[in-house]
């Protein structure tokens, strides 16, 4: 057979397999399922839906959606992998000149093309969600995207191998459930297994705002996923199944450095990631009082600035704060600055702007007033510290943050607002008491 006719035959077989494996249906199905999952995560179907218009958040969302897309890919591949047995075509196909490896790889490739097309459609939907407001394009998100898609490929490869090696009606759903539970249960295992969970094909890819994949880790993870996929294909199609040991050994070698990584000192990030300082650089208003947010949330500055300035106007009556700054989890506010909590998860899907503006003010007030207690110091029978906390929240927010309807809080607030000098002294006693969890002082401050 000439090279030209062989190419034409391969192309013809590929086209047939695209149709017979249901690749188009699978692609459409995954796209619809992804759209449903994204819609279900937003209001009104989810009251607490949050969205961040950043590449890191989009990749994190894609990784999470993989918890459904990956198992379905595995189940579909297992079903296609069992086709030869179901249709009793084994002997017939063995009589053709094409090797089993070529035949099955063509079948797998056709199905995987459909799966990747569906995953790509979901990715496009996520990109559409961040497009109106994304303000930072760094952070190695292309590497995260490649790994997320490779996870789907790995699920398809392992599913195909299982479907071919274990023919039966129960194989496909069992593969789907096994992948789902394996990748989903990782979240219950605790820190002891933390270094292994990113090796799972779906749902565990670390992707946080302000952090990026370490370069060599991304490369090693790519090798790991490709080697696992190759091992699955060789198990399904190779005449000598032992050849699957070669990519299996490569995969094993790749896990050695990947599981030996340790998190950066002083951070809560995954050991696969490092701080993305450019994403966390401050972007500030040009006029005063100055309001600063992280570069990755720069699109929200226009919405946050008037809210922060309104709160500053109330707070400045009692405290010498002259600007507002967004801080990350675990950080302290710079001296003289009002701390705005991280704006991660406060964007809107498909539109720019804050999803819940009131949350910015509430969060800033809570940061100023909530006691920093390491244990259960506030859980005693004495409710007076809570009266002080509630009165402080009302006072500093100009009455907009209403902690509860306790008459004692209202009475204390009324007394303080009647005498601004006394209120200033009171707040300057309250703030250090809250910062040091001085429960006795907090109780005394509630005295009428």
């Amino acid at each position: 057979m000439s090279a030209r006719s062989l190419h034409a035959t391969t192309r013809g077989v590929a086209v047939i397999e695209l149709r017979r494996t249901g690749a188009w249906s699978v692609a459409a199905g995954l796209a619809v399922i992804g759209a449903v999952l994204i819609a279900a995560s937003q209001p009104p179907l989810n009251q607490y839906g949050n969205w961040s218009s950043s590449w890191a958040a989009a990749m994190e969302r894609l990784s999470t959606l993989g918890l459904v897309l990956g198992p379905l890919a595995g189940a579909a591949a297992a079903w296609v992998g069992g086709r030869e047995h179901r249709r009793q075509l084994g002997e017939l196909l063995a009589s053709t000149p094409r090797s089993a490896l070529t035949r099955r790889n063509t079948t797998w490739a056709a199905l995987t093309a459909g799966l990747l097309l569906g995953a790509a459609a979901v990715t496009c939907l996520l990109i559409a969600g961040i497009a109106p407001a994304v303000s930072y394009f760094g952070g190695r998100w292309p590497a995260s995207l490649v790994l997320a898609l490779l996870g789907i490929v790995v699920c398809a490869s392992l599913g195909f191998a299982a479907g071919h090696l274990i023919p039966g009606r129960f194989t496909a759903p069992a593969v789907g459930v096994l992948i789902y539970l394996t990748c989903g249960v990782a979240g219950y295992l605790g820190r002891k297994w933390g270094e292994f969970t990113p090796l799972l094909p779906v749902a565990q890819l670390p992707s946080d705002e302000g952090r990026e994949l370490i370069g060599w880790v991304a490369a090693a993870a790519t090798v790991w996923f490709l080697a696992v996929a190759a091992a699955g294909l060789l198990l399904a199609g190779a005449r000598r199944r032992a050849t699957a040991a070669i990519p299996a050994v490569v995969a094993l070698l790749a896990t050695v450095p990947l599981t030996a990584t340790t998190p950066e000192i002083g951070t809560y990030g995954s050991p696969w990631t490092q701080a993305d300082h450019q994403a966390l650089q401050s972007v500030c208003t040009l006029d005063v009082p100055q309001v600063c947010v992280a570069q990755v949330h720069a699109d929200l500055l226009d919405d946050v600035a008037p809210l922060a300035r309104g709160l500053l106007a109330d707070v400045q009556t009692y405290l010498p704060l002259d600007r507002a700054v967004e801080i990350a989890a675990g950080q302290s506010a710079p001296s003289g600055a009002l701390a705005i909590g991280t704006l991660e998860g406060q964007s809107r899907f498909l539109r720019p702007g804050l999803a819940r503006p009131e949350r910015v003010v509430e969060d800033a007030v809570f940061r100023l007033t909530n006691p920093q207690c390491p244990g259960q110091e506030l859980n005693g029978p004495d409710q007076r510290p809570y009266v002080s906390i509630g009165a402080a929240q009302l006072l500093l927010s100009g009455g907009t943050v209403q902690p509860s309807l306790d008459p004692a809080i209202e009475a204390l607030h009324t007394r303080l607002t009647a005498d601004p000098d006394q209120a200033r002294t009171w707040i300057n006693d309250f703030i250090p008491a809250a910062a040091s969890c001085d429960v006795d002082t907090l109780a005394q401050l509630a005295q009428p």
Partner: protein
């Protein structure tokens, strides 16, 4: 071997008889393990068991809904609609009776009540799918629905969550039971009336 035993063997009842107790034991162990996790403990941690144990059981039941040759089965005078109704009812009852044992403490919070409800609803879904889809794919709608809803269900409140996310509701008396019972009734009615779907090609397994 009598006709009844041949029929049971053809419908893979041996696998179901073996698989359901094993599944129940695994569900019991998983529920016990989940409730002792340090950062998410208590009855609320049993959501995966309440969602996936009935799913796997319903998939096992789906193996029994059609034989190797559906057209040949239809020529048998004894396999009447009454047999299919009995088959469906026995399957749903067996699932509920066994899986309810997997989480008996605080049954109203992701315990026995939720397991029973989901067993009924997912069995109904599988019965309905058997009348439309090829025998090898009757598990697909129940699997896809459970996977999607387990991830999509709101952790707090969401519009109509008790209706569309019925499979991950705690188990108390609420609209989720209505959905599950409606699915079961519809599935039994359709499977009784139509039997397993005929396709152009009869799969071997």
């Amino acid at each position: 071997m009598t006709g009844a035993m041949l029929h049971l063997r053809e419908r893979r009842m041996g696998w179901v008889a073996f698989g359901l107790p094993v599944l129940t034991a695994a569900a019991w162990w998983a529920a016990s393990w989940l409730t002792t996790r340090t950062f998410f403990s208590g009855a609320d941690a049993r959501v995966p068991v309440v969602a996936f144990a009935p799913l796997l059981a319903a998939i096992l039941v789906s193996l029994t809904l059609a034989g190797a040759d559906i057209d040949l089965s239809r020529t048998a005078s004894r396999l009447t609609a009454r047999h299919r109704t009995a088959h469906s009812a026995i399957a749903a009852t067996a699932l509920c009776a066994l899986l309810a044992l997997a989480a008996t403490d605080t049954p109203q919070t992701f315990g026995s009540y939720g397991l029973i409800r989901n067993s009924l609803g997912l069995t109904g879904m599988v019965l309905l799918a058997a009348t439309i889809l090829p025998a090898a794919l009757t598990w697909a709608p129940a699997l896809i629905y459970t996977f999607v809803i387990f991830l999509a269900a709101p952790s707090g409140r969401g519009l109509g969550a008790q209706w569309w996310a019925w499979v991950v509701q705690p188990g108390g008396l609420d609209p989720s039971w209505l959905i599950a019972l409606t699915l079961l009734a519809t599935g039994i009615a359709f499977y009784t009336r139509r039997g397993a779907a005929r396709t152009g090609h009869q799969p071997r397994s």
